[in-house]
């Protein structure tokens, strides 16, 4: 087992470093929810709702490329940028070591 460390910027601009084990086959979305971040992730990880939208501030180049489902869904988002990703499609593994994510999707009312 290894621990993956990366930074997360919340909507209030506060930045925290998260340490997440890499052997639980977690997605970044699941790790964020488990760490009590207020994200909707309504569809549960099927790349259907785009409510786990994050901006990759650092480490974008190391991430695996987006699949068709993620590209389609990001395309519908009015505020998506070139460095936007859906957290549900990013696996927690060594590729995100040192990355920096900014949470963008809508929050629970």
């Amino acid at each position: 087992m290894g621990i993956v460390t990366f930074k997360v910027e919340n909507r209030d601009k506060s930045v925290k470093e998260l340490e997440i084990p890499d052997d639980m086959s977690l997605s970044l979305m699941e790790a964020l929810k488990a760490s009590e971040y207020n994200i909707l992730a309504t569809c549960g990880g099927m790349a259907l709702c785009a409510t786990c939208h994050v901006q990759v501030m650092e480490g974008l180049e190391k991430l695996p490329i987006k699949n068709e489902d993620e590209l389609d869904m990001l395309d519908t988002l009015p505020d998506a940028m070139h460095d936007s990703r859906l957290a549900c499609q990013i696996r927690i593994n060594s590729l995100i070591e040192g990355a920096y994510f900014r949470i963008l999707g809508p929050e629970h009312e």
């Binding site: 909707l40 309504t42 569809c43 549960g44 099927m46 259907l48 709702c49 785009a50 409510t51 590209l71 389609d72 869904m73 395309d75 519908t76 988002l77 009015p78 505020d79 998506a80 629970h108 009312e109």
Partner: protein, 308 residues
């Protein structure tokens, strides 16, 4: 008890039929694997003996308590159903148009801002701005170019992921000067006096400029929302309805919530759990609907299925 099912979708089965009918599901006991649509078809067959009623393609908008404690459920098409108990099995919620972050957008809804094209004639000889880059943005741009006085399509990207044929048609229309195509841009502000009259657009360089518009049609796909359910006085926590796990009742007497739409300590969003919640809810709902009747719990292995 007689049951009547109302669904905003045109068919029963919720996400299984609508979103991933051909995906295999692996966590239904007794089925090592089953296609989502096959599971829905089987469930439909299983409930046939009970002859439930169906109202499909209509969304429940209103829930009104009557003096005798019954409810009148009213749908988007004004179908009314009177019942003693209501069970919300709303899953992810209902899919509503995703709204871009544009100042004063909601103020102009119905006054120039529309998220879908219901009656294209409304746009005849008007100045229309569409926003988005998917199939519906492309299709409506092509269609409205023959109807409206002026059509402008604003797209955040440089290319379109929609159907290549439609993207090509839009490019041709733009070259021929029949539409105004603005790429790498976003709508930032809208303005008007009682009705929309202007749309402000920012390009990649963040320079803003304003164009005249009678209508703005943002087409950014759909996103699941709780919808009218949020207005029924139910306890809601993180977009889910809080229930008592004794019988999956909500804080409002006679209203139950089961499946993905509810929440309680230890909640798991699994179809399996939805079945369990439904069974306990039915026992409680029966006692609520028929307080004077005794309910004896029976096994179908002993008694078979008693058709209504």
């Amino acid at each position: 008890m007689r049951c009547h099912l109302v669904d905003a979708l045109p068919q029963i089965g919720g996400q299984l039929s609508e979103i991933y009918p051909q995906k295999p599901i692996y966590d239904i006991p007794g089925y090592p694997t089953i296609n989502a649509q096959e599971l829905v078809d089987n469930l439909k067959k299983q409930i046939e003996p009970f002859h439930p009623g169906f109202t499909l393609g209509e969304r429940v908008e209103k829930l009104e308590r009557q003096e005798d404690k019954s409810f009148i459920v009213t749908t988007s098409e004004n179908t009314q159903i009177q019942c003693k108990a209501v069970v919300i099995a709303g899953g992810l919620g209902c899919f509503e148009p995703r709204k871009p972050a544009v100042e004063r957008l909601e103020e102009f809804e119905g006054k120039g801002v529309a998220y879908m094209v219901r009656n294209p004639e409304l746009f005849r000889d008007k100045e229309i701005v569409l926003a988005g880059g998917g199939d519906s943005a492309l299709d409506w741009t092509i269609f409205l170019s023959d109807v409206a006085k002026k059509v402008t399509l604003v797209h955040r990207g440089e290319t379109f992921r929609g159907a290549p044929d439609s993207a090509e048609k839009v490019a041709h229309l733009a070259e021929a000067g029949k539409i105004n195509l603005i790429l790498k841009s976003n709508i930032t502000k809208i303005n008007g006096n009682g009705h929309l009259s202007e749309v402000t657009i920012a390009g990649a360089d963040n320079n803003e400029y304003t164009i005249g518009a009678d209508y703005l049609i943002p087409l950014f796909g759909l996103s699941p929302k709780l919808g009218p359910i949020a207005d029924w006085g139910l306890n809601v926590e993180k977009s889910a309805i809080v229930v008592n796990t004794f019988d999956y009742s909500t804080n409002v007497e006679g209203i139950y919530a089961i499946g993905d739409i509810n929440t309680y300590p230890g909640k798991l969003k699994l179809i399996l759990c939805g079945f369990h919640e439904a069974a306990l809810m039915c026992q409680s709902a029966f006692k609520f609907v028929f307080p004077d009747q005794r309910l004896s719990f029976k096994y179908t292995t002993v008694n078979g299925v008693n058709e209504f």
